[in-house]
């Protein structure tokens, strides 16, 4: 049985699955139920001077019949008094000493305000502090949230103030709404951050009501840009986590956030360097119970692959994230269709013909007689993957390597004239169209 225990910048938890700061971590009752269900930690809903929320706060993007593929919110930080939240954090720690309880904080950008807030938080026995420099809506208009996290100097300054008094680990939560997230990550490191968490939500408008022309989520016919999250944002989060994890100037633990809904997502983030995994939208969709399969699935996968601890595979994918110019140009693929599995939907044909490289030959269904309806034109196939991605039958279209006698050659080597390229199918098109 895999050991999922986690030590993240000194914060220990029974497993890497933490509830991200948000509506599921608003009260003691919720966090207690979550821990009872199996969650390893919780980042409390951001605490600060209580705010007033609007009615109608969440918007969602459905994909076909699948609900909440993407999700956004215009909710602000907690609307509960600071002392109530701190009291409940203390109670949580008393009742769940083995679980990680992190306080997310956001106050106005004044040194004294941060000092006071950090000290009061530490008195609760919380395991760590997460600085919310990420929320892109509402609070940013008041000079907080992403208004801080978008400016490296502000980020560094406030981390420094916090670290002046902090006695517990300080995690800086980064906003993705920047041109290059590594600049902000480095600023946090410079300020003394013990760890990073990313990504906060992405600025968004999720849709427009075509009857009233009100954007979603509508507040009396109007809306505001809000933070986008849910499964749709996972690829963006994977990229940003890998960018920060691969930055030699960072090198502090990363808690990954962004569209995690399954144990596979968690394993992928871990392989890209994540120390813990934070989840919010999936819980808002399905409840705390999803942690059972997060733990069970990850544990089974680790057992099957001989990983005894998370450290055994943490960051294992990071060296494989390289620059395009480092990719081998002499690695050639060709698509292969398993005609026994083909159900003759012809989606690969229309995708390749209209959307890619015209490398599939189509036989009229009428002349069928049981023969193939679609066939790869190997001399035209550029191995792009598109057909295998549109194919609705698992394992029907696979990509096969076409061996050649040429040494691996990347763009730098080729453009410097040091190495040669193997003949490639792209020349087939040039030959055809130049006729």
């Amino acid at each position: 049985m895999a050991d999922l225990r986690t030590d993240f910048a000194g914060i220990k938890s029974p497993n890497p699955f933490w509830l991200a700061s948000g509506p599921p971590t608003n009260t003691y009752g919720q966090v207690a139920r979550a821990f009872d269900a199996g969650w390893g930690g919780a980042v409390w809903k951001t605490i600060g001077e209580p705010i007033i929320n609007v009615f109608s706060r969440y918007g969602s993007v459905d994909l076909g019949a699948t609900r909440m593929m993407g999700f956004n919110n215009i909710e602000l930080i907690t609307d509960r008094p600071i002392e109530d939240n701190l009291k409940e954090i203390a109670e949580t720690k008393r009742n769940y000493p083995r679980h990680a309880v992190i306080a997310s904080l956001m106050v106005e950008s004044k040194r004294e305000a941060w000092h006071e807030m950090v000290k009061r938080t530490q008195d609760t026995g919380a395991d760590g502090i997460e600085l919310n420099f990420g929320c892109p809506h509402g609070m940013s208009e008041r000079g907080m949230g992403s208004a801080v996290g978008q400016v490296p100097d502000y980020t560094c300054q406030i981390v420094e103030w916090v670290k002046e008094v902090a006695t517990i680990p300080v995690i800086v939560k980064l906003t993705p709404n920047v041109t290059d997230i590594t600049y902000i990550a480095r600023a946090a490191v410079k300020g003394g951050a013990d760890a990073l968490s990313l990504i906060n939500t992405i600025n968004s408008i999720v849709g427009v009501d075509l009857d009233s022309f009100a954007p979603f989520p509508s507040v009396a016919g109007k809306s505001s840009h809000g933070g986008y999250c849910g499964p749709a944002v996972k690829p963006i989060a994977l990229h940003l986590v890998s960018a920060v994890a691969n930055d030699p100037a960072v090198k502090i633990p990363i808690s990954a956030i962004g569209g995690v809904a399954t144990w596979r997502d968690a394993a992928e983030f871990t392989a890209l360097g994540a120390g813990t995994i934070q989840v919010c939208t999936a819980v808002m969709h399905y409840g705390f119970r999803i942690v059972e399969d997060l733990v069970d699935g990850l544990s089974n996968w680790m057992d099957e692959h001989g990983h005894q601890t998370l450290a055994d595979f943490r960051g294992r994918a990071l060296p494989n994230v390289v620059k395009w110019e480092d990719l081998d140009l002499n690695y050639h693929l060709v698509a292969e269709i398993d005609q026994d599995k083909c159900i003759k939907c012809e989606l690969c044909w229309t995708a390749c013909e209209d959307g890619a490289h015209q490398a599939i030959r189509r036989h009229s269904r009428a002349n069928g007689g049981g023969g193939p309806v679609v066939e790869i034109i190997e001399e035209a196939c550029v191995g792009c993957n598109l057909c295998s991605q549109v194919c609705p039958v698992q394992g029907c279209i696979t990509m096969k390597q076409v061996p050649n006698d040429f040494a691996p050659t990347n763009w730098k080597e080729y453009s410097a004239g040091k190495k040669k390229l193997a003949p490639r199918s792209e020349q087939f098109h040039t030959a055809i169209w130049s006729k």
Binding site: G64, A65, T66, I343, K344, C345, E346, L347, W349, T350, R365, A366, P392, V393
Partner: protein
């Protein structure tokens, strides 16, 4: 002497349940889920399998995007009877049977129910999906207001022809109105679909039998004539006792059921249906649903020889109908009315006790008039194909309209 009606033993509520939609409409959520399951095949086999070649992936994609009016237009553009086909087509052997998901060992997309979902949004609601073309000064006469004739009429109106449809019966729609199993489609639905076509400005002259009330030759004054008069009466058994009270042909039985309150439809307590085609199934199931204690198919050949679709056979079995195979009717017996059916079986002679015999041996060709061989006279539907599905009649009507248009527009360069 009338046949005692067994329907009286059932409550009105039970009768309403027995004849309610056998395939209830999808909810919006279910339709969305189903539409999003469609793979959107290129050159889709469902479209190829449909005699009217409805672009099935196109209309399903429109359902998925919430464009229900667009979906309905795709369906009805290809098939003016797209709604009744959604209810009554043998999709298991047409579009749904061809769905590629069958090859992935899955249930096919429920195309019929999606087609119904889309057309439900326009049926009888006066949604102007199509409009009459600019009048081109040409006139076409159509005999028979069934699916073939009205499909032909619909497309000719779109191209600007003046179209007059002659119908022998009082109500239009042909077998759609009188002959579809009630649990698949009611006359009200059939007539709503017909009205959507008539609303394009088709002139309907109901109650006129060509060849009796008006000579066929009179129609040759039109620029073209389309004949879609369907088939005639049910074939006779040719055995003694066939004229006894209590013997009725299947089409008449079904028409009676569909044209009056259920409990006023004469039905026996023990019903025998002779024949094993789809109409025989419609008769045996509906007799059972009206309240017959037993309702039994009697067929001279074996189970595998039945001409009905497999799913119709399964339906009749689920309804509790009986089947007697290798059972050849020899004589209908009774003293003043039906009391039994003498049959010959491999085990010898036997009398099946019954008080109603429904004959369903197929229909004979019409003989009211001879259709002359004439290059301006076209034909389609059951009359021309010997008896097939609504979708075949619609396809043939649409094709005939196209041929008529090509012929007439070619004459003076007008038209399309």
């Amino acid at each position: 002497m009338t046949t005692p009606s067994a329907a009286t033993v059932l409550s009105d509520e039970q009768l309403a349940r027995n004849f309610a939609d056998i395939a209830p409409a999808l909810t919006g959520d279910a339709a969305l889920l189903e539409a999003n399951t469609c793979l959107f095949c290129y050159d889709a086999p469902c479209t190829t399998a449909c005699p009217t070649h409805i672009d099935v992936p196109a209309f399903i994609k429109k359902i998925a995007t919430g464009n229900l009016r667009g979906a309905a237009r795709v369906i009805l553009d290809a098939n003016p009877f797209g709604h009744s086909c959604a209810r009554a087509c043998p999709v298991e052997v047409l579009c749904e049977g061809a769905c590629v998901l069958n090859a992935r060992d899955e249930q096919p997309i429920r195309i019929a129910l999606l087609q119904r979902h889309a057309t439900d949004t326009v049926l009888g609601r006066h949604v102007p999906l199509f409009s009459a073309g600019q009048p081109n000064g040409k006139r076409v006469a159509i005999i028979g207001a069934g699916p073939a004739g009205l499909s032909c009429a619909r497309d000719l109106r779109r191209w600007g022809y003046a179209v007059t449809v002659f119908e022998a019966r009082a109500l239009p729609g042909g077998l759609n109105t009188t002959g579809i199993a009630e649990y698949k489609m009611t006359p009200a639905v059939a007539l709503a679909e017909v009205q959507d076509i008539l609303d394009l400005g088709v002139e309907l002259r109901a109650g006129i039998t060509i060849g009796r009330d008006m000579p066929f030759e009179e129609l040759l004054g039109y620029d073209a004539v389309f004949v879609g008069i369907g088939l005639g009466r049910t074939k006779r058994l040719g055995i003694p006792g066939e004229s006894l009270p209590g013997v009725i042909d299947a089409l008449t039985f079904i028409e009676q059921l569909k044209s009056r309150p259920y409990r006023e439809t004469p039905v026996g307590r023990h019903v025998v249906v002779i024949g094993a085609g789809n109409t025989a199934i419609d008769a045996v199931t509906q007799a059972k649903r009206l309240g017959a204690l037993t309702s039994t198919i009697v067929y001279r050949r074996g189970e595998a020889d039945m001409s009905c679709f497999h799913y119709e056979y399964e339906l009749a079995k689920r309804d509790g109908c009986g089947f007697r195979f290798h059972c050849t009717p020899k004589r209908i017996v009774g003293n003043g009315r039906v009391e039994g059916l003498d049959v010959e079986t491999p085990q010898g002679q036997e009398t099946i006790t019954c008080d109603m015999v429904i004959t369903a041996l197929g229909q004979v060709a019409r003989d009211e008039f001879q259709v002359p061989k004439h290059d301006r006279v076209f034909a389609g539907g059951d009359f021309a194909n010997g008896g097939a599905e609504i979708v075949n009649a619609a396809a043939e009507g649409v094709q005939a309209a196209k041929r008529i248009h090509e012929m007439l527009a070619g004459e003076d360069g007008k038209g399309r």
